[in-house]
C-alpha cells in the first residue's frame, strides 16, 4: 500500500530541496502539459483537459483526507463549491465594483475561502475518524447544498450565480477570453497545487497524518493529538479543494447547487478510489480515466452511469487499491525479473475478457433499447451494426456469447492465478 518513498533513499547528509531525480518527473509533467494543446487543438479537447485538471486538483485534495488522513468524506464538494462561489462573487466585484484583482490570483482566494470554511467545520468534525466523520461530512454537505437553494444572495438559488472572467486587469497582456489562455492558467495552478500537496505529505504533520490513519492510539502516545493532526490535514484539504473551485469558476463562469451536492461529493470519492487511495498519483490517474470514460461513454450510451457504477463496485470488491494499486502490484514480479511469466496468461485472458465485457454490455444495451425505445423504433445500432432489438435470434447469440466468454474467463483465471503466484515466488533465504 505504501508509496515508493523517496526520502528513504539512504543518505545521511541533508538532501537538497529537490534532487534531480525528484525534479525530473515534475519537469516531464510541465513539458507535457505545455505541449498538450499543441497536439490536441480542438476546443472540445481543451475543455476536457481543463475539466481533467480541475478534477485532478480536487481529487488530490480529497485524497489528503481519504488516502493520507484516513477520513472518508461524503461532503467534500462543499469546500470546492464554496471556493468557486466566492470566486464568482469576486469576478463580479471586479466587473462591477472596480475591485483590482488579476484573474490568475483568483484561485488562491478560492482556496482561502475553502480554508476558512474547513476551519469552522473541522473544529467538530475531526474529533473522530471513520464512520462518525463520514456521517458529519454527509450532514454538513447536505446542509450547505440544501441551503444553497434558499440563500439566494450568496448562492443565487436554483439558477446559481454567474460571472465574466475577462473583466479584470490584464495580466501579461492576457485577458483570458480564449480557452487556450485559460488552459495555461489551469495547468499552472495544477502544477503548483499538486507540488504543494506532494510536499505537504513530506512534512512532519503530513507524515503524522499517515501515522494517525494507521494507528491513532500509537500516534497519541508519541505526543501527537490525533484530532489536531486530522484537523490540519482537513484544513489543508479544504484549501486545495477551494483552489479547484476557483479554477472551476474561471473555466465555467457559473456555479450552481450541483457543485455542492452529494452527487459531486460522491463522484470525487469514486474517482479517488478508482485511481487508488494509497498512492499520491492514484487520484491523478483516477481523474484522467474517469473524465475520459465519462466523456466517451456518455457520447455512445444512455446507461453509462450503470457501467461506471459497476466498474466502481468491482474495483472496491476486487482491487481495493485501485488502478494504481493494480500497476504497483506488478512491480514485484518486475523486480524479480519474472514479469515475462505473466505475459502469456494475460494475453490468453484478453480475448475472452474483451468479448465478455462487450457482449454483456451489448446485452444490457439491447435490453435497455427493447424496454425503453418508443413504439415503432425497434431498430438500433451497436458497434456499427444495425438491427432490430426484438430479434430473438440476436438475443440468443449475445446471450450465448456473454455466458460462454464469462465461463472461459473463469476457467482461464486459474491459469492466471498460478502464473501470478509463480511470478511472485521468492526462493526462501537459506
Amino acid at each position: 500500500m505504501s508509496v515508493v518513498k523517496q526520502d528513504s533513499a539512504g543518505s545521511r547528509i541533508a538532501n537538497p530541496l529537490i534532487t534531480v531525480s525528484q525534479f525530473a518527473p515534475w519537469f516531464v509533467v510541465i513539458v507535457f502539459l505545455s505541449l498538450l494543446p499543441v497536439i490536441f487543438t480542438s476546443g472540445a479537447a481543451l475543455t476536457i483537459m481543463n475539466q481533467m485538471a480541475i478534477t485532478i486538483i480536487f481529487a488530490l485534495a480529497y485524497n489528503m483526507l481519504l488516502g493520507q488522513g484516513g477520513m472518508l468524506s461524503f461532503g467534500h464538494a462543499v469546500y470546492m463549491g464554496l471556493g468557486g462561489f466566492f470566486c464568482v462573487h469576486l469576478m463580479n466585484m471586479i466587473e462591477y465594483d472596480g475591485l483590482w484583482l488579476p484573474l490568475p490570483l483568483l484561485p488562491f482566494f478560492g482556496g482561502l475561502f475553502g480554508l476558512v470554511f474547513a476551519l469552522i467545520i473541522g473544529t467538530f468534525s475531526t474529533r473522530r475518524a471513520g464512520t462518525v466523520f463520514a456521517m458529519i461530512s454527509l450532514g454538513v454537505g447536505e446542509l450547505i447544498a440544501a441551503s444553497s437553494i434558499i440563500v439566494v444572495v450568496f448562492f443565487g438559488g436554483e439558477e446559481g450565480i454567474s460571472g465574466d472572467r475577462t473583466m479584470g486587469p490584464e495580466t501579461f497582456g492576457l485577458d483570458f477570453a480564449s480557452q487556450l489562455e485559460v488552459y495555461y492558467l489551469t495547468a499552472f495552478w495544477l502544477v503548483i497545487s499538486a507540488l504543494a500537496m506532494y510536499l505537504f505529505s513530506r512534512t512532519p504533520v503530513g507524515r503524522m497524518a499517515n501515522a494517525v490513519r494507521d494507528n491513532e492510539e500509537r500516534a497519541e502516545f508519541l505526543g501527537y493529538s490525533q484530532r489536531n493532526v486530522r484537523f490540519i490535514s482537513f484544513c489543508a484539504s479544504g484549501f486545495f479543494a477551494g483552489i479547484a473551485g476557483g479554477i472551476f469558476a474561471i473555466n465555467f463562469e457559473i456555479l450552481t447547487e450541483e457543485n455542492l451536492n452529494l452527487a459531486t461529493s460522491g463522484s470525487i470519492l469514486l474517482i479517488t478510489f478508482l485511481g487508488g487511495v494509497g498512492f499520491f498519483v492514484g487520484p491523478i490517474i483516477g481523474a484522467i480515466v474517469f473524465t475520459f470514460l465519462q466523456t466517451v461513454l456518455s457520447l455512445y450510451t444512455e446507461i453509462w452511469q450503470l457501467y461506471l457504477g459497476t466498474l466502481f463496485l468491482l474495483t472496491v470488491m476486487f482491487f481495493p487499491f485501485g488502478l494504481t494499486g493494480l500497476i504497483a502490484m506488478h512491480m514485484r514480479p518486475y523486480q524479480l525479473g519474472k514479469i515475462s511469466l505473466l505475459v502469456k496468461p494475460y494475453l490468453r485472458m484478453a480475448i475472452p475478457g474483451i468479448v465478455c465485457v462487450l457482449s454483456f454490455s451489448s446485452l444490457l444495451e439491447i435490453a435497455f433499447h427493447a424496454k425503453h425505445a418508443a413504439i415503432g423504433e425497434e431498430h438500433m445500432s451497436l458497434f456499427g451494426f444495425g438491427f432490430n432489438s426484438y430479434n430473438i435470434l440476436l438475443w440468443l447469440v449475445v446471450l450465448v456469447l456473454s455466458i460462454g466468454s464469462g465461463w472461459l474467463c473463469k476457467r482461464l483465471a486459474v491459469g492466471v492465478r498460478e502464473a501470478w503466484d509463480e511470478a511472485n515466488f521468492v526462493e526462501p533465504r537459506s
Binding site: 543518505s11 501527537y224 489536531n228
Partner: protein
C-alpha cells in the same frame, strides 16, 4: 533523598461495578528499573493505562516528577516525558522501519505540527533516526515495511519507537511476551541498553527477565500492591509466596 519519578496515591479504577484497581500507593524513583508483576487479571495493564492516560482514573492521584497528571490525554503525558509500549504490538505497519522510528522522534525534536519543513531535508532528524536503528540493531531492515517484519523484530521496533523520543520514563508492557528463549535474551540486553540512566517501569510475566533487570519489584494482586521491594526481599516475602509467587520463582531459579 533521590527524586521520585512516578508517585501513585490511593489510585482507583472501576469499570461499572467492577473495581479493578483498589487503592494503589506506589512511588518509583528516578533512574530505577521497576517491574510490576502479578497473576493474570490483577490489573497490571489497567494500572499502565491509568498512568499513561489511556483510561480515566476513578479516584486517587498520579504524580510525575511531582506534578499531578491524572486524566491528562495520552499525548499530554507523553510530552511531559513518559513513553510507553504496548502488550499487543502497536506499530505503523504500512510505514517503513525508518519512518516508524522517525514518527517517534518528530514531536520531541520540536517539529510538532509543522507543515513548512520537509522531513527528508532534516539532517539531524535522519541522523538521530539512524542512531536509534543502530541501537536496536535494525539498520539492515531500515527500508522494510514494518508490517512484514518478524514478530520479534516488531517487538524490538516497538521498543525503538518508544525510546526514540528520549523520554526519561519508559513504560514497557510485557516486552518479551510470545518470544523464544534466545529472542528474549536479545531483547533484555536491548532494554538494558536503551534504558541506561532512565526510569523504567515494566509489566512482565517472565520471572527470569524480571529478576535479571529490575532494581525493585511491586507485586499487584487483585488491584492492590501487596509488596514493593528489592528482588531479594520480594522473593523472601511470605505474603507474596502465599498469594502468588512461590512456585513460579523456584521454578525459574
Amino acid at each position: 533523598m533521590s527524586e521520585i519519578a512516578i508517585e501513585l496515591q490511593g489510585l482507583r479504577k472501576n469499570f461499572g461495578f467492577a473495581e479493578i484497581i483498589r487503592g494503589v500507593d506506589l512511588s518509583i524513583e528516578k533512574g530505577e528499573r521497576h517491574a510490576i508483576i502479578g497473576p493474570n487479571g490483577a490489573g497490571k495493564s489497567t494500572l499502565f493505562n491509568l498512568i499513561t492516560g489511556k483510561f480515566h482514573v476513578s479516584g486517587g492521584t498520579i504524580k510525575m516528577h511531582g506534578d499531578p497528571v491524572e486524566n491528562l490525554k495520552p499525548f499530554e503525558i507523553n510530552r511531559r516525558g513518559l513513553s510507553r509500549s504496548f502488550q499487543i504490538t502497536n506499530i505503523f505497519p504500512k510505514m517503513t522501519v525508518f519512518e516508524n522510528i522517525r514518527c517517534g522522534l518528530l514531536w520531541t525534536m520540536g517539529y510538532k505540527y509543522s507543515f513548512w519543513t520537509l522531513v527528508n531535508r532534516q539532517a539531524g532528524l535522519s541522523e538521530r533516526t539512524d542512531e536509534i536503528l543502530e541501537q536496536i540493531n535494525m539498520s539492515d531492515r531500515r527500508n522494510e515495511l514494518a508490517g512484514v517484519l518478524t514478530y520479534a523484530e516488531q517487538r524490538a521496533l516497538e521498543i525503538g519507537i518508544t525510546i526514540a523520543g528520549g523520554a526519561d520514563i519508559i513504560m514497557l508492557d510485557e516486552p518479551t511476551a510470545g518470544m523464544s528463549h534466545s529472542e528474549t535474551e536479545n531483547i533484555v540486553e536491548l532494554i538494558r541498553g536503551v534504558t541506561e540512566d532512565k526510569t523504567l517501569v515494566m509489566v512482565e510475566h517472565d520471572m527470569g527477565v524480571v529478576f535479571n533487570l529490575a532494581d525493585r519489584i511491586s507485586v499487584l494482586v487483585y488491584g492492590q500492591i501487596i509488596a514493593s521491594d528489592t528482588p531479594e526481599n520480594v522473593r523472601a516475602d511470605v505474603n507474596v509466596q502465599e498469594a502468588y509467587l512461590g512456585t513460579a520463582i523456584d521454578a525459574e531459579h
